[in-house]
């Protein structure tokens, strides 16, 4: 039958087909390059990359610094997120806007700003150096750059998680005999916890993927992204790819974990 029927149905679903085609283009554009790179690396070259001491050191450094940056961001950012989500205070909107600022700043610009702010000749950098904490061209510089670019993600995610908890739940807990801190610990924290964890993982991933600001403030020791860039400029594409694929796999692993956590956090 139904030539005529299928023609009608084709015409009817034409708008959906256009939408699907446009969407498919974008999905291919995201997936295509990544798949191309994954298949470019041979198992042998991946094995060599895993065994490469410099690659190992860079990935270890990346994981350690990203974890430190996330911990620091969480320690400072979760309380701020709670304030922004729950309290009204003068300048709240300004603080909110400032926390979103790093997103629009090109990363090398952020790196230069950090360099000026934390360099030995600056007041802050000088004071830290006097305390024995070298920032620029040292590991703390990497952590500083990571906090700068990733903390806003953590703050906005944690803020959303706190907003999703009805403040009346805490009020109920208070009338049931809880002090403010106890109500927060027994009600708000467990309910927001998952969302905060997801935000922390996302911010960790952002730290791992950071390059532009780190390359300016601390070229050596090299984090993975800097090492990959270094290999690319020195030895070319083929030499950089195995390490790049390793980093990609780490990022994908984190991504899967976040996706598994998120639906539950939204519910």
């Amino acid at each position: 039958m139904p030539r005529h029927w299928s023609l009608v149905s084709c015409l009817r679903s034409f708008p959906q087909l256009v939408l699907a085609a446009l969407g498919a283009c974008l999905v291919l554009f995201i997936v295509g390059p990544l798949l191309r790179m994954l298949f470019f690396a041979t198992p042998a070259s991946l094995g060599a990359a895993i065994g490469d001491a410099e690659v190992q050191a860079a990935i270890t450094l990346t994981v350690v610094t990203a974890t430190a940056a996330t911990a620091l961001g969480a320690a400072l950012g979760v309380p701020l997120a709670l304030l922004l989500a729950r309290k009204t205070f003068p300048g709240r909107r300004v603080v909110q806007a400032l926390m979103e600022l790093p997103v629009v700043i090109p990363h090398p610009v952020a790196g230069m700003a950090l360099l000026l702010f934390l360099g030995r000749r600056s007041a802050v950098g000088g004071a830290l150096a006097d305390l024995g904490l070298e920032v620029v061209s040292h590991v703390p510089g990497i952590v500083a750059a990571m906090v700068f670019v990733s903390a806003p993600i953590l703050v906005s995610g944690a803020q959303e998680a706190f907003r999703a908890v009805d403040p009346k739940l805490e009020r109920v807990a208070r009338t049931l005999g809880d002090s403010p801190w106890r109500a927060f610990r027994r009600v708000t924290l467990p309910l927001a916890g998952r969302g905060i964890l997801a935000a922390a993982i996302l911010s960790w991933a952002r730290s791992v993927s950071e390059f532009g600001s780190i390359v300016i403030i601390t070229y050596n020791p090299k984090v993975a992204s800097v090492l990959i860039f270094d290999r690319f400029t020195t030895f070319g594409l083929a030499a950089a790819i195995p390490a790049a694929v390793l980093l990609l796999l780490v990022a994908l692993g984190v991504f899967v974990v976040v996706r598994l956590l998120q639906p539950a956090a939204r519910a």
């Binding site: 009346k168 009020r171 807990a173 208070r174 049931l176 005999g177 309910l191």
Partner: protein, 361 residues
């Protein structure tokens, strides 16, 4: 005892202005008012969740201005239940028992079980709260609030979000729990019927102020402003008690839901009514359901009595006849028949109304 003395609060767009109210120990008071009149704010001010601008809140004679919510010894039930979504029914109920009020774990468990039993929740204790019905959630919220044995219970529209049948049951259960636990209760509602059914005391809140307060009967019968009159409706309300008449010679179980013939006693009147329960109640009679006649009525209406006209109030085609039958009553007749019967103040008439025209609350 809850005493509010010139309480003034502002939260966002909600204002309370110089609210004064007194709920005696063990009393059940209802604050009624339309949506947005500041009812929830009033409860939150008593609970200590919002800042008081002026005036005082006294709980059992003590000014609680500096007392945090957790030390005020009250239970709070919100309209939308606000159960803890990460806890089971049991843990929700027992939540307030974990605050070291000298209860040992065994006592806590016993208290949770006791309340679950009283509210018919025993079979749900180990469930999460997500698959509970509205009525079940409301019962859990009540049990949770009652568990630490508060001396004061604050209820925010507790029956507004459940279906009518459940509402009917819950109202009765709450009143029973109130009576058995002896808790001073303040409930807010937008439903005047609820006030008549439950409250010993009613306060009408309008735009952040108490427009009128008193017994439900007083407020209903003598509204002091057009707002209150419009809000509560007009009619005859008689406070009294229902007594079963044993006319068919069979005694039914007390919990029987079936209607039965009874007498409503409200000195000096004794009315024939159709009731669902015994005990204290309010009888509401709409003015247009009362038949007025100059002669004895041959009607089958059971409730027939002599009355004296106190005054007449003509409102267009309807005339309100204010009567004295030992109690004040209002009847409504068409102005045409009022003229025809030559009704006048001081005249004696016979009035009648059917047993089914008496609405028992």
């Amino acid at each position: 005892m809850i005493e509010l003395d010139g309480l003034t609060v502002q939260v966002g767009r909600f204002h309370l202005r110089e609210v004064s109210l007194r709920v005696p120990t063990g009393g059940y008071a209802l604050v009624i008012g339309p949506t947005g009149s500041g009812k929830t704010t009033l409860l939150e001010a008593i609970a200590g969740h919002v800042k008081v601008r002026a005036g005082r809140v006294l709980l059992h004679g003590q000014d609680v201005a500096t007392t945090p919510p957790e030390e005020r010894g009250l239970g709070f039930v919100y309209q939308q239940y606000h159960l803890f979504p990460h806890l089971s029914v049991r843990d929700n109920i027992a939540y307030g028992l974990a605050n070291g009020r000298a209860d040992r774990p065994a006592e806590r468990a016993a208290r949770a079980d006791e309340l679950a039993d009283a509210l018919g929740l025993t079979h749900l204790l180990d469930r999460g709260i997500h698959d509970l019905s509205g009525g079940e959630q409301q019962r859990v919220a009540l049990a949770r609030a009652l568990a630490p044995r508060p001396r004061i219970l604050l209820l925010d529209e507790p029956f507004a979000s459940v279906d009518p049948t459940t509402r009917h049951l819950l109202r009765r259960e709450v009143r029973q729990l109130h009576d058995s636990e002896g808790i001073t209760t303040l409930q807010v509602t937008h439903d005047f019927d609820e006030a008549l059914r439950l409250g010993d005391l009613v306060a009408v809140l309008a735009d952040g102020r108490i427009a009128q307060s008193g017994t439900p009967e007083q407020v209903f019968r003598y509204p002091n402003s057009a707002f209150v009159a419009q809000f509560v409706g007009t009619g005859n309300v008689l406070g009294g008690r229902i007594v079963r008449t044993d006319e068919n010679g069979r005694e039914r179980a007390r919990t029987d839901e079936v209607q039965f013939a009874a007498r409503f006693i409200c000195e000096p009147l004794e009315l024939d009514v159709v009731a669902e329960r015994e005990g204290p109640a309010h009888a509401v009679i709409r003015p247009e359901d009362i038949v007025v006649s100059r002669m004895e009525l041959p009607s089958s209406a059971r409730n027939q009595m002599a009355a004296t006209i106190v005054r007449l109030e003509r409102v267009g085609p309807v005339t309100q006849v204010h009567l004295d039958v030992g109690r004040p009553l209002v009847a409504a007749v068409t102005s045409a028949s009022a003229d025809e019967m030559q009704l006048a103040p001081g005249a004696s008439v016979t009035i009648a109304f059917k047993a089914t025209a008496i609405h028992l609350l």
